[in-house]
């Protein structure tokens, strides 16, 4: 490629090359921030104010709010959408989420059952091989 070609290519891309396909807006960041503050304050208030007596209910609500907040961060701060990078961003994200869910739920599920089945009081010699 000659020097002239390079200059020409640069001239063509000018104005588009520097934003790298990311179109951040003030409104987007502000929306994301306000939603994040709300989604952070609610779970802290639930726990610090002892609003919900039942631990399992509180835990489910905390996890649900965290999931919503992660989606908010993905959309408004990380600018995720199905079209960025020709869809490869989303593909990598979906693959990662699948692995994260398998790792987390699998570990906790297996170890929970391992604990509850291997406790001394559960030991039943007739089931042993």
């Amino acid at each position: 490629m000659s020097a002239h070609d390079e200059l020409h290519a640069h001239g063509d891309n000018h104005g588009h090359a520097d934003d790298f396909g990311i179109h951040a807006t003030f409104g987007g960041y502000l929306t994301g921030f306000i939603l994040s503050v709300v989604l952070t304050v609610i779970p802290f208030w639930l726990v610090m104010g002892h609003v919900i007596a039942k631990s399992s209910t509180a835990a489910v609500i905390i996890l649900a709010l965290a999931a919503v907040q992660i989606v908010v961060h993905m959309i408004y701060f990380l600018h995720m959408n199905a079209k960025s990078e020709g869809g490869w961003n989303m593909l990598a994200l979906v693959f990662t989420i699948v692995l994260v869910v398998i790792t987390l739920s699998g570990s906790i599920w297996i170890m929970y059952h391992l604990n509850s089945n291997m406790m001394p009081h559960m030991m039943d010699t007739s089931n042993l091989p």
Partner: protein, 213 residues
Amino acid sequence: MSDMTTHVTPGSGGPTEQLLFHETQDVHPANGTLLGFWIYLMSDCLIFACLFAAYGVLGREYAGGPTAQEVLELPAVAVNTSLLLLSSITYGFAVLEMQRDRRNPMLVWLVITGLLGAGFITLELREFAHLISIGAGPQRSAFLSSFFTLVGTHGLHVTCGIIWLIVLITQVLRKGLISANKRRLLCLSMFWHFLDVVWVGVFSFVYLMGVLP
């Protein structure tokens, strides 16, 4: 190029039909660096998934030592969370200034972001020092081991982010807002927001759920 295609299709029916399917360009997204960095972040996400899983399994194994309810202090965590969340939005403002090619306002927002991040790390280190001083160090119980590993790994990431931020501020001061620097700033932006996403998991899963009775 035409040479190659004729070699590839000797003897088959219509060579002109084959030529229609010959690709003259590699198919790849325009911004390879940002996509590559995103894939790095996803692999980092898997590291955190493993650490979260370890904490999920071991988080209630106190070994007769202090429980999460006794040692975790929510007010300090609330302050830490707000510092990190604020640093996310200030980095966002820096990116907005970068898009408008306004160097000095952008640098001011970057410095504020770095200071908020440093505040976060300071508070976290104070929490760690306090835990170790009352005998609740990482060697005390499985709960504390997994706690220190998970929260410490996140803190290490934030520390690396701050170092990277300082390097980038120096780069922008020396070379200005050139295209390469903008690309680097966008990579760090993704890194920084990603760490905030991980922190959402940490304060929900470790701190808030940890102190539930």
